[in-house]
């Protein structure tokens, strides 16, 4: 399985009237074909901007400042806009958070889907319609031959998200980026959509990036996880590593703030105190240091490098440095990875 995506030191900023908002401050990761990568973090952590940067769809006044996004051997940050439109929707597809507003209300599903198919393939109009119907059937829309003539407002939220997925997968993309695909849906529908994504992944062998703030979603479907905070990557590892051997105080904080339902026990949630950093004036050190229970002097002065805990598991925390004091739960002596 080859590498499909490699993001190196990606920095994206929004140049507003008030100043530069550094939304992403140096993300680096790579993913292999067939991976399902989860990017998790709270609002403003830079996860959506990371995703939009991958397909280079940052809207004004935003700009990719530095770094590269290597997809299939091409650096997407270096392509022209017209080269990018060839890739968007065909090789890399995206689905978004709110299916209620993400489909143009004045066109039929047929119009919207065939537009994308005709744009990226050589199919005739007739073939495109047949293909669209097949895709709708694949994502579980009943009576696709008639439903294809309906308008978006005639579908429920879950159905619309299925339409979004059908459209996104219609040109057989190698990579699907799902930005909070279940956030706007009911819990039961959430499960259905996630199941659908997993099923389609097996059928089409598409790699998927799922962006979410919901650890439950991540646990359910992902193979690898990146935890982001304040525009930086905090921890990266496989699902098991992030859930069973978390090695970053922020990851631990996230775990503690998820309710656990155990009968008879009455535990309070442990929230993470404070609020995320102002990305207009990001802290010089680790972005989590102002809220971290274990913060040391160095945490305030310098952002931690990625310490390597295993081949797949890295964490940006000074506690892992060999000179750091021993804190229970944090493996010391991880190798510094640069």
């Amino acid at each position: 399985m080859g590498k499909i995506l490699e993001v190196n030191n990606l920095k994206t900023s929004f140049f507003t009237h008030l100043g530069e908002v550094q939304a992403v401050r140096g993300s680096s990761f790579s993913m292999n074909e067939g991976d399902i990568l989860g990017i998790v973090g709270e609002s403003g952590s830079g996860k959506s901007v990371t995703a939009m940067s991958i397909i280079n769809l940052i809207e004004d006044p935003g700009k990719i400042k530095e770094g590269s996004v290597i997809f299939n051997g091409k650096d997407l940050t270096k392509l022209t806009e017209s080269e990018l439109t060839e890739i968007r929707g065909s090789e890399i597809a995206m689905i978004f958070q709110d299916p209620m507003t993400s489909l143009n209300p004045v066109f039929t599903i047929k119009n919207l889907m065939t537009e994308v198919i005709l744009r990226h393939t050589d199919m005739s109009k007739k073939e495109a319609i047949a293909h669209a119907i097949k895709m709708l059937d694949l994502v579980g829309i009943p009576h696709p031959e008639t439903r294809i003539n309906a308008y978006p407002h005639q579908f429920s939220g879950g159905m619309r998200q299925r339409v979004m997925i059908a459209t996104a997968l219609s040109c057989d993309p190698k990579l699907l980026i799902a930005d909070e695909p279940t956030t706007a849906l009911d819990v039961t529908i959430q499960a259905q959509i996630l199941e659908l994504l997993l099923k389609l992944k097996d059928e089409t062998n598409t790699s998927i990036i799922i962006i979410t703030h919901d650890l439950g979603v991540i646990a359910e479907v992902c193979t690898d996880i990146i935890v982001m905070y304040g525009g930086m990557m905090m921890e990266k590892g496989t699902v098991d590593e992030i859930f069973y051997e978390p090695n970053h105080p922020y990851t631990n904080g996230l775990h503690n703030s998820v309710p656990h339902i155990v009968s008879g026990k009455r535990d309070r949630l442990i929230p993470i105190k404070g609020s995320p950093p102002d990305l207009m004036k990001p802290p010089t050190g680790c972005p989590f240091s102002p809220r971290c229970p274990h913060a040391m002097q160095i945490c305030l002065e310098e952002a931690a490098p990625m310490f390597k805990l295993s081949d797949t598991h890295t964490s940006a925390c000074w506690l892992l440095h060999e000179d750091a004091p021993q804190v229970k739960g944090y493996t010391k002596g991880g190798k510094q990875d640069d």
């Binding site: 439109t85 890739i87 597809a93 993400s102 143009n104 004045v106 537009e115 979004m164």
Partner: protein
């Protein structure tokens, strides 16, 4: 769908009758009558005149008489332009007003919408500032100032256009430009803000993420949504423009309907006031009905919501 329009049609008739009623009683509450002059008419003549036109009947009887005529589309004779029926006045004045108005409407739509779109796409660039400056000017400068300036500069100083009348085709330019100034600017501003709003919508991002070419994203996905508020404004605007502007018709000496209307009010020409008001109202209501049809064509959500009931 058919049932919906039937319902709308019934409501329209009712509205017109209501407007006629209100206008009738308001008009009669103004002191004086059609034959009141600065130099008083001798009483004996006044009595005869009132008798001839049934103005000596109680107001309520006059009202019933008038409504009876209205239902059979008989608008009655004019009180001050002797020997002419109100319907003739409308037939005489409306074509001129409508011709000027139609040209102004076309100008407003073919210039206002593209200007607004360009302005939105080039937001905060020099061209946007320029268009917005012109549009602000157009909204704030009254039409009679524009009209006077056109006459002064293009008819007077340069001699390119005639100063009045429509005998020469060039004579249309002045009235059309002066008449469209305000609405053209308004439509430009409306299209721009509506377009900016639409460009922020999620479905525009979806289209871009699907690799749709930017020109198609704009031309297909954005414009159609952006036009919905513009249609709302354009419908009633067309009614207002087509039925004539008193000021413009005065300045350019055009034989339009606006002039008759204002004169009829100062003359207490009861039948003319009523006739033109009812005509305006009917026209206005038809335009609003057309707007609703246009909505349904542009926005499928409206079509189905109403069709379902």
């Amino acid at each position: 769908m058919g049932k919906y329009f039937l319902k709308r049609f019934a409501a329209a008739i009712l509205t017109i009758l209501l407007i006629a009623t209100i206008t009738f009683f308001m008009m009669h509450s103004i002191p004086g009558g059609p034959f009141t002059r600065e130099r008083p008419v001798p009483d004996s003549i006044m009595v005869r005149l009132n008798e001839k036109y049934h103005l000596d009947d109680p107001v309520f009887i006059q009202y019933l008489d008038y409504m009876k005529g209205l239902v059979t589309l008989d608008l009655g004779p004019s009180f001050s332009i002797i020997g002419k029926d109100v319907i003739d006045l409308i037939k005489g004045g409306f074509p001129t007003s409508a011709k000027i108005g139609l040209m102004a409407t076309v100008l407003i739509i073919i210039l206002g919408i593209p200007f607004g779109i360009i302005s939105a796409l080039k937001q905060n660039k020099p061209i946007d500032y320029f268009v917005m400056f012109m549009a602000t000017l157009g909204v704030t400068v009254p039409s009679f100032v524009i009209a006077t300036l056109i006459i002064y500069v293009f008819a007077g100083l340069l001699g390119w256009l005639p100063t009045y009348g429509l005998q020469n085709p060039l004579g249309y330019i002045g009235p059309v430009v002066a008449l469209s100034g305000y609405s053209l600017s308004f439509v430009t501003r409306l299209t721009r803000s509506s377009m900016l709003e639409v460009l922020r919508q999620d479905y525009i991002r979806t289209a871009r993420a699907n690799g749709i070419k930017e020109i198609v994203v704009m031309g297909k996905h954005a414009v159609r949504n952006a036009l919905i508020p513009v249609i709302t404004y354009v419908g009633p605007m067309v009614a207002a423009i087509l039925t004539g502007s008193f000021v413009i018709e005065r300045i350019f000496a055009l034989p339009g309907m606006g002039g008759y209307f204002v004169e009829s009010i100062t003359n207490r020409d009861y039948t003319t006031i009523m006739g033109i008001t009812v005509f305006y109202a009917a026209f206005y209501i038809i335009m609003i009905l057309l707007v609703d049809v246009a909505y349904a064509l542009v926005d499928p959500r409206i079509r189905f919501e109403k069709g379902a009931k």
